[in-house]
């Protein structure tokens, strides 16, 4: 099961990222646990400088933008292959 965290404090981009992640997870039928992190102290653990941030299995894969659904799909499916 993939552990996904969306780092952000609620601005439009952060919400869009969460929506994208949920959309990809549902459409690809991926088993994922999605968590929204709004506490800054918790966020800084991932050395993020610009929100929103996308963390997959404890690794920060994107920051400061909303990646395309295709990119998100690639990351999520890539990790399940490694598992």
């Amino acid at each position: 099961m993939v552990k996904v965290k969306v780092l952000g404090s609620g601005c439009a981009n952060c919400q869009r990222l969460e929506a994208s992640v949920r959309r990809v997870v549902t459409s690809q039928g991926i088993e994922a646990q999605i968590e929204k992190v709004t506490d800054y102290a918790a966020m800084m653990k991932y050395a993020i400088l610009t929100t929103p941030g996308l963390v997959i299995n404890e690794k920060l894969v994107a920051a400061g933008r909303v990646p395309s659904d295709k990119e998100i799909e690639g990351w999520l499916l890539g990790t399940t292959q490694l598992a």
Binding site: G8, N13, M44, K45, T50, T51, V61
Partner: protein, 351 residues
């Protein structure tokens, strides 16, 4: 461990040709559209709609029909180019560049980097923490935080589109000076104890994703940025220009000289005080400000108002409250406000 390099290998130029071809096609279309804006808007207003030249409604409509597509085209084109430049300047790189620089030089560098580093106000906190945690002095960090929202690309592009490159360049220069000086002043007071304690106690993780992008990837980031920013801003552009057009056409010349002109010495601080709590996109405010100047408001007062609206926003202060104690927020707002007021007076005197 947290380093990630994109795995696309070096693709041949042939594989990327479609991307460049499409880009060239779009550029041509853009140029064609831009060239016909003036004649088409005039034709639509005076021939198709049959409005009289020189009439109030005619003037307003022509202004509107010309400037809305012009600004939107400029925004799309320039944001695309700026975003590509920005792919070379990640915040991580900015932080590395600033590390170890003293006050003075650090402030200048921080302010200049603030212009090119991508920034949205919800990132203010992580950025602040990240910079401060890596040893960048408080004052230098503030120079960055002041420059980034104040000299934002939408504001600069709109100033260029509506008033020409000289005004845009002047705005950038003024914004830089304000950011540098305010940051240095804040640094002088040594206000580290007014940063929330948890910031100093945080354990920062190792470095974030290091990306090396190929050109097609940079181009796609550029077009993502355009979709995102123009998508967010276009209603404000239309409303702002509509109001500006109405003022342009219907308000008599010099109507505002009394309350916003040079004679009213209190107009500059009043403009700043009014502008601070107002939160608006630069896109909405600039056309209105331009029209006001046309009708007798003095440049310094109008500029001070615009900078106060764009540079100091209530939402950003609320967000920064998470890491800054009220005293520091007060100092921040106070110093920047004073710098803007000073700039307003200066422009009123000189222009």
């Amino acid at each position: 461990m947290a380093v990630q390099v994109t795995t696309t290998s070096r693709r041949s130029l042939r594989a990327d040709l479609p991307v460049y071809g499409k880009l060239a096609g779009i550029a041509l279309l853009w140029w064609a559209a831009y060239s016909v804006l003036l004649p088409v808007s005039q034709w639509l207003t005076y021939s198709v709609l049959g409005l009289a030249r020189g009439s109030q409604l005619g003037e307003s409509v022509a202004f509107f029909l010309y400037d809305v597509p012009k600004i939107l085209l400029l925004l799309a084109g320039m944001i695309f180019l700026i975003s590509i430049v920005r792919t070379f300047f990640s915040p991580e790189r900015t932080r590395a560049l600033l590390g170890g620089k003293r006050q003075g030089i650090g402030n200048v560098l921080a302010a200049m980097l603030g212009i090119v580093t991508p920034f949205c106000s919800c990132s203010a906190v992580p950025l602040f923490i990240g910079f401060v945690e890596s040893g960048i002095p408080l004052g230098v960090t503030f120079s960055f935080l002041i420059a980034a929202p104040l000299i934002n690309e939408v504001a600069v592009i709109m100033l260029y589109g509506l008033f020409g490159w000289r005004v845009a360049a002047l705005y950038i220069g003024t914004g830089l000076v304000i950011a540098i000086v305010a940051g240095m002043v804040i640094g002088r007071f040594h206000l580290e104890r007014y940063v929330e304690d948890f910031v100093w106690q945080l354990q920062m993780g190792a470095n974030g994703p290091q990306e090396r992008l190929t050109w097609p990837e940079r181009i796609s980031r550029g077009s993502d940025s355009v979709k995102e920013i123009v998508g967010k801003v276009w209603p404000y552009v239309i409303i702002g220009i509509a109001v500006g057009a109405a003022i342009h056409g219907f308000v008599p010349e010099s109507a505002l000289a009394n309350i916003m002109g040079k004679q009213a010495w209190w107009s500059v601080p009043a403009a700043v005080l009014l502008g601070i709590p107002l939160y608006s996109n630069a896109a909405g405010v600039i056309p209105i400000v331009g029209a006001l100047i046309e009708k007798g408001a003095s440049v310094g007062t109008a500029l001070a108002f615009m900078m106060a609206v764009v540079g100091l926003s209530l939402p950003e202060m609320i967000i920064l409250r998470r890491v800054l104690k009220p005293q520091l927020i007060g100092v921040f707002i106070g110093v920047v406000a004073l710098a803007i007021i000073f700039t307003g007076y200066l422009f009123n005197l000189v222009l």
